[in-house]
Amino acid sequence: MAVILSVKEVGKTYQSAGTPLSVLHAISFDVEAASTVSIVGPSGSGKTTLLGLCAGLDRASTGTIVLSGVSLDDLSEDQRARVRNQHVGFVFQNFQLLPTLTALENVMVPLELRGERNSRAIATTLLDKVGLADRGHHYPLQLSGGEQQRVSIARAFSNSPQILFADEPTGNLDADTSETIEKLLFDLNRDAGTTLVLVTHDLELASKTQRVIRMKGGTVVSDSRMQHGAR
């Protein structure tokens, strides 16, 4: 199967109060297209940093990352933004909806950035898919946490991404809502044939993916394939 994300010897070092702080050390792995992968590990293990690097939100200090056939290493921030807009979707723990835009407008943003002409119609369809067809004109503040995350998922799928990155997608939700969101995420992912990379503390959620990468102290400690992982 084709590799959609290739991570080779990636390291990340920050300057903190004048001294270098190394948070990732020589991480390497590949992710096949249309697969589901979870990255797990304790707080401070570097999983969110790794997700940020893989999604092109930040630049690695060492190593190489190739996303959808594009090497991110030499791209400027604006070039990486274009890659994100063309190939990547995001779901965040704290939803990260634009508070000044309605639910519908939030979903429309990635489409409008691509210059999509039918952005309103596409966004309306996606909101319908996540069960929020009648809440499109509401602002994030007027929605519950679960509803906000559903808008966030609709937005993540709006640009038909090849790969979806999710950072603790159910971290801020109660158990019942989490279940609904997980189901929605995996169903949409399967229907769209998207690759899913999620970062989570929740081992039960992780077990639903085909592959689990465990991290500790900025390194990968295990990389296992799951028997019953969702596709």
């Binding site: 939100l57 930040d58 921030e77 807009n85 943003v109 950035l113 937005r155």
Partner: protein, 853 residues
């Protein structure tokens, strides 16, 4: 349309849509940011509109400013050559009028009041354009044919005179035919200094005031057959007129002169308005800085979703352009309303009737300037958007680049400096003045900013940990993240500096005159005393029990040659380095054997008595010597009433002009011009107003040609003048002060958003309203105190410099006034701070949290 073009249009449309969408929930706040520039723009639009209207009014009313096509004037009796010029222009004219004007005492016979006025003896039908506006209206024409006078309206009021009363000018009584409301080209300020009294020229000889030696100005007014030739005519006669020591005015030359004077006034006022605008822009910059900080997450999300840094930047730039436009338009509207008041404010200074039409060009300029400058100042925080990393969606970026290293920030700082310099240069037309203005404004900003930083440092360094919670919380608000300390100190401090400077300069000008009122200084000056009257006048003064403090002869002389070079030589050869204006010019000199205590020799040697047969060694005031470009030992030739007197430059003197006493540019030693035709000045000291009035009445009765100035009159005129000027400066300075408080209000309200969560948390934990308001009040008290204190210090520094280098008076500010100002401004700051923070305490915490989240 090509695909690329369509794409660009779509992308541009998206930026505008996003700017609009994003602003939806922030519009009231955005408008609050921009409110800071409204007052500054209003001031500028009002001033520009006023300038436009004034220019048009001067254009429209130029003919009535002069009242004739050509005016010739001279301060001496016309010689034959000058008379021939007058006759030849008269031959080309439809009408010709003549005026002789001079300062003289008049007596209001009704109550015996006396006053120094400008007597204007008029012959002919002047003015040919416009009218002498009088009450009753016919008096302006009818007084010319009878022994009647027109008396300035303020004089009539002052002496409670009525039409039909009598006024004595010299030896002659005139019936007051009417109250003079307005004469061509005369402004309110000019009439305050020397109120005019018009009499018919035919009656002048009978007054006995136009004797030889009297200081009379002669005017000849012409209404040409071909008015279009006025300029060509005067241009052609220019050098001839110069030879005969005559000046001239035409409608276009007066238009130019008046326009130039008021263009200078307008430029000065524009600078005052510009300072208010700059102050507002600092407010905008600070507010946008906080706004962008709050938008950090939204921008990171947009970046995460694929928006480029340029797109994110443009979204907020478009927003700021929009609110900049709205703020500027509101300012322009307010300015157009304020402009209706300006003709009233400036009525006393302007010699034409000012209209207050809407000036679209002023509105356009104001809006353009407002949008440009608000965006320019907002750019500083806006460029930071480019550096907001998408990683902020996951966690706060650790690698935030320093704005100090951002070359765009430096480019914008440079652009702002260039803009301020450029604007000031356009108003001031001089590099040095522009540097002084820009440097002064920059220094004021830097000093206030440094004061704010010092306050923060001191509070942190010496934080009073033992103080009560409310005090500690109020103090710590000064340096907490997103504090408004710097901007508030700059805004309030600059406003305070304006008011304080105004007070100090007014005090200084008054004290400059009041100085002379001290015990042993003269406070009454009698001048135009004929030689034959000298002893009798001195006797009268002594009879009244008053001292004769000084008695000085004055001789009118003309400088004919410097080192053998005459005015003709200088005219023929432009390479000759002498002052052409000084050669042939008249000046009033004296002769004496000793220096006075207001004089000091700075070069050469003082000679008090001329040795028989020797060339006189004269003493020149040093500035005058500099203008003449002469040095010690140079040879001069003076014409003293037709007699040529050679002289050598013997010494230079430094003269203290700030005294009520006679000072001279040129002094002859005794024994040279003692027998030349001369008049005398006598100085005395009167104990009070009653004695002054009695002395004046007695003098005018016996010696009607003698003019009197008493210090009381000077002080009251000065007071009136300063009141009028102070009103104008106060009116203009008010814009800056008002802007200071708008910035303060806006900053308080913006910081309210920053503090709201903490206040709510405090309330949740049981803090009372009173406690929260006390914390706020303490914070604003410290802010207001340091701002007003620094503002007053700045004003003291500026006023001291003015006192030392410009007015040359001792600097003694009144501490009580300054203290009152500091406390007053600090209290006002507290009041505004507390009023604007009330919202937090008056609603339940949960309601606020839901609303503000």
């Amino acid at each position: 349309m090509t695909t690329d073009r369509k794409h660009i249009l779509r992308a541009t449309g998206w930026i505008f849509r996003m700017a609009w969408r994003d602003s939806r929930r922030n519009r009231s706040r955005l408008l609050l940011f921009i409110s800071s520039i409204v007052i500054g723009i209003a001031a500028l639009v009002a001033i520009y509109s006023f300038g436009d209207n004034l220019e048009r009014d001067i254009d429209d009313q130029a003919a009535t400013l002069v009242g004739a096509d050509v005016v010739l004037h001279s301060n001496r009796l016309l010689d034959d050559g000058a008379q021939r010029i007058v006759d030849s222009i008269g031959a080309m004219s439809l009408d010709h009028a003549e005026e002789q004007s001079f300062a003289s005492m008049v007596v209001f016979t009704g109550n015996g009041g006396t006053r120094l006025v400008q007597v204007r003896a008029l012959g002919g039908a002047f003015p040919f354009y416009g009218t002498l506006e009088t009450t009753p209206a016919a008096a302006g024409t009818t007084f010319r044919n009878h022994r009647q006078a027109l008396v300035d309206k303020t004089l009539m009021l002052q002496f409670e005179a009525e039409v039909g009363d009598s006024i004595k000018v010299g030896d002659l009584l005139f019936e007051i035919a009417g109250r003079l409301e307005q004469a061509p080209g005369q402004s309110g300020i000019a009439t305050t200094v020397a109120p005019p009294v018009f009499i018919p020229l035919d009656y002048l000889p009978a007054t006995g005031l136009n004797q030889k030696g009297s200081r009379i100005n002669y005017h000849h007014y012409f209404r040409l057959k071909d008015p279009a030739r006025a300029d060509a005519l005067t241009d052609g006669l220019d050098s001839l007129l110069e030879v005969h020591r005559m000046g001239y005015d035409t409608i276009s030359s007066r238009k130019r002169e008046t326009g130039r004077s008021f263009s200078d006034l307008n430029k000065f006022l524009s600078l005052v308005g510009f300072v208010a605008l700059l102050l507002g822009c600092i407010g905008v910059s600070s507010a946008v800085h906080i706004y962008i900080k709050e938008k950090l997450n939204s921008i990171a999300i947009l970046r995460c979703l694929g928006a480029s840094s340029r797109q994110a930047f443009l979204i907020y730039l478009v927003q700021l352009l929009g609110v900049g436009f709205v703020g500027s338009a509101a300012g322009a509207l307010l300015g157009t309303v304020i402009q209706q008041l300006l003709p009233v404010v400036f009525a006393d200074f302007v010699p034409v009737a000012i209209s207050s039409d809407i000036s679209w060009s002023a509105i356009g300029q104001g809006i353009g300037l407002g949008v440009w400058i608000s965006v320019l100042f907002a750019l500083l925080p806006l460029v930071g958007i480019r550096n907001i990393a998408p990683l902020n969606t996951l966690r706060l970026s650790l690698d935030a680049p320093s704005p100090i290293k951002d070359r765009w920030s430096w480019a914008i700082y440079g652009l702002i400096a260039l803009f301020v310099f450029g604007y000031a240069y356009l108003q001031l037309d001089g590099v040095v003045q522009t540097i002084v203005f820009t440097g002064g404004v920059g220094l004021a900003f830097v000093v206030l900013y440094a004061a704010a930083s010092l306050l923060v440092w001191l509070v942190r360094r010496f934080f009073p940990t033992s103080w009560g919670y409310l005090w500690r919380q109020g103090l710590s608000n000064l340096f907490r993240p997103n504090n408004q300390t710097s901007i508030l100190v700059v805004a309030v401090g600059l406003g305070t500096a304006f008011i304080a400077t105004l007070f100090l300069v007014q005090d200084m000008l008054i004290s400059r005159i009041s100085l002379s009122a001290s015990e042993h200084q003269p406070n009454m000056v009698l001048f135009d005393i004929q030689s034959a009257q000298k002893d009798a006048v001195a006797g009268l003064v002594k009879e009244a029990g008053l001292p004769v403090l000084d008695e000085v002869p004055i001789v009118t002389v003309q400088l004919e040659a410097i080192n053998g070079v005459t005015a003709d030589d200088a005219r023929r050869d432009s390479t000759i380095q002498v002052s052409r204006r000084a050669l042939g010019g008249e000046l009033r000199a004296t002769y004496r054997s000793a220096l006075t205590d207001s004089e000091k020799i700075t070069a050469g040697r003082w000679v008090g008595q001329a040795a028989p047969g020797d060339t006189a060694r004269v003493s020149l005031e040093e500035d005058y010597a500099q203008r003449l470009r002469v040095k010690i030992g140079d040879r001069l030739v003076f014409n003293v009433q037709g007699v040529r007197i050679p002289a050598i430059v013997g010494s230079f003197r430094e003269v203290d002009w700030n005294r009520v006493q006679t000072n001279f540019r040129l002094i002859f030693p005794a024994g040279v011009i003692d027998n030349a035709p001369q008049f005398h000045v006598l100085m005395t000291r009167v104990p009070d107003d009653v004695a002054s009035a009695r002395m004046q009445q007695a003098l005018v009765k016996r010696f009607p040609n003698v003019s009197i100035i008493d210090l009381g009159l000077i002080l009251s005129v000065l007071d009136e003048l300063l009141d009028k000027i102070g009103f104008v400066i106060g009116f203009m300075g008010g814009f800056s002060i008002l802007t200071g408080f708008v910035v303060l209000t806006a900053s308080v309200m913006i910081s309210k958003y920053q503090r709201i969560k903490e206040s709510v948390l405090l309330r949740t934990m049981g803090a009372s309203r009173r406690q929260i308001l006390a914390i706020t009040a303490l914070e604003y008290f410290f802010l207001g105190l340091i701002a007003s204190f620094t503002g007053v210090l700045l004003a003291l520094g500026g006023a001291w410099a003015l006192a030392a280098f410009s007015f040359e008076v001792p600097f003694s500010p009144r501490p009580a006034t300054m203290l009152l100002l500091v406390v007053g401004i600090a209290s006002l700051t507290v009041l505004i701070g507390v009023i604007n923070s009330r919202g937090i305490t008056q609603r339940p915490p949960l309601e606020i949290l839901r609303k503000e989240n």
